[in-house]
């Protein structure tokens, strides 16, 4: 019955957002999501009846990304994207735009472990147990990473005055050479 079907289309935004943060490249992210759907179709027998389709797809996406990361081609694409030649995210506009852009930069500057945990739990709304399933780590580790990521962003905000001022972006973790 159609109303029992897993809602795949409803996961598109979250999957694309997760893929964009992983790849830093809009085109590569969409390719990754596409590959995720293809792989999921090939492995549809592994989807358990009643399981959360979003968690299943995110785990596949992450594994594909890790496999792909091993190739030099992907590494070059990521390096290129790091230089921000192709914006992966919409440019914020209106009041607070600069702050959002800085928050995004601070978020993207977090260590990959903290960033992924924070994205899955805070942005995508997964429970610690679900995020643990995607990341293949214990739920307690997920939450400690989320805690550290939040603390880092908090410290950034405190250092930044929480507003779009001229103050330099401060990345917590002792890497801010310009702090006084």
């Amino acid at each position: 019955m159609a109303h029992d079907d897993p809602d795949i289309l409803g996961q598109l935004d979250a999957l694309r957002r997760y893929a964009r943060v992983l790849t830093r490249d809009a085109e590569a992210a969409d390719d990754l999501v596409q590959a995720t759907f293809v792989r999921a179709r090939e492995r549809r027998a592994t989807f358990r009846e009643g399981a959360d389709v979003r968690v299943w797809l995110m785990a596949i996406l992450r594994n594909l990304f890790i496999d792909d990361r091993r190739s030099a081609l992907a590494a070059r694409a990521r390096d290129r994207a790091w230089a921000d030649t192709r914006p992966a995210f919409v440019a914020p506009s209106g009041e607070g735009a600069a702050r959002l852009a800085q928050l995004r930069a601070a978020f993207l500057s977090l260590g990959p472990d903290q960033r992924e945990a924070l994205q899955l739990v805070a942005v995508e709304g997964l429970s610690p147990a679900e995020a643990a399933q995607v990341l293949g780590i214990p739920a307690g580790t997920v939450m400690s990473r989320v805690g550290r990521a939040r603390a880092a962003l908090r410290a950034w905000e405190d250092g930044n005055g929480g507003a779009a001022g001229p103050r330099p972006l401060r990345i917590v973790g002792g890497r801010d050479d310009r702090k006084t």
């Binding site: 289309l9 759907f37 179709r41 009846e49 959002l100 995004r104 805070a122 942005v123 908090r154």
Partner: protein, 253 residues
């Protein structure tokens, strides 16, 4: 300290629900009470809620998903739907197919594996690994064109007509211990991705009954027809299901 983490996560979720007006009145009152007693914690949670909202805005995608992505999402949904149906009907269908095959006396499948896997099975698994590798390699484009005439002429095998709903992903000539074979990677809507390998049989060799079995985490169907031997490999699924797929191939002219 999972319990503490769960409690914190629950409180945060409650706060978000409270802000969005998504809590029942009694629950909303209880949460508000808890937070009112702990203003410092409430302030923390509000900052987290603010960060979450800001991050969602900051990480918003620039555009709508491309049509190809939406189409792939639809395909996946259909596949999952088909998978669920298959789970419901597979045991019955397999029993019917096996009974029918036995009654016809043409293809009674043995569903126990041979004592040792024939070299042909090993060759098919090697071929599958190679094709899988090609699938992910940019510099190794796949060949989805199945030129049966040329393959028959070059290898001396009889290629079955693939069911119309099977999609050819890749066709490669591969090595086996005795002679070259053709390996065809296909997507079958009811079975998923399969590998079919066909190789010419030695003249005068006795025809073995078809067998379907599990081997090294894969499901294998091994069958012969005329002057050719076939191996069908499935990454998952039951031997009985794969035997049904092989039956469709064996019914070719």
């Amino acid at each position: 300290m999972t319990g503490r983490h769960d409690g914190e996560a629950e409180l945060e979720a409650d706060l978000l629900a409270l802000l969005q007006g998504g809590l029942e009145p009694d629950r909303a009152l209880a949460v508000a009470d808890r937070l009112a007693d702990r203003p410092d914690r409430a302030a923390d949670l509000l900052r987290q809620a603010r960060d979450t909202a800001a991050l969602r805005l900051a990480l918003a995608a620039e555009d709508d998903p491309p049509p190809a992505l939406v189409a792939e999402a639809h395909r996946l949904r259909s596949s999952l739907r088909g998978q669920r149906r298959l789970r419901r009907i597979a045991p019955v269908a397999a029993a019917v197919a096996l009974f029918a095959a036995g009654w016809a006396g043409s293809a009674l499948w043995q569903v126990a594996g041979p004592a040792g896997a024939p070299p042909l099975v090993e060759a098919a698994l090697d071929a599958q690994a190679a094709l899988e590798l090609r699938h992910w390699m940019v510099s190794q484009p796949e060949t989805a064109v199945l030129n049966a005439q040329e393959i028959v002429a070059a290898l001396g095998v009889d290629l079955p007509h693939l069911p119309e709903d099977w999609t050819v992903r890749d066709v490669q000539i591969v090595a086996t211990p005795d002679r070259p074979a053709v390996a065809i990677a296909v997507d079958a809507p009811d079975l998923g991705p399969l590998l079919l390998m066909a190789v010419a049989r030695s003249p005068g060799e006795a025809e073995e009954p078809p067998t379907a079995f599990e081997y090294e985490g894969r499901t294998i169907a091994l069958f012969e027809r005329g002057r050719s031997s076939f191996v069908l490999v499935d990454a998952q699924g039951h031997p009985e299901q794969l035997a049904m797929g092989a039956d469709r191939l064996m019914s070719f002219d």
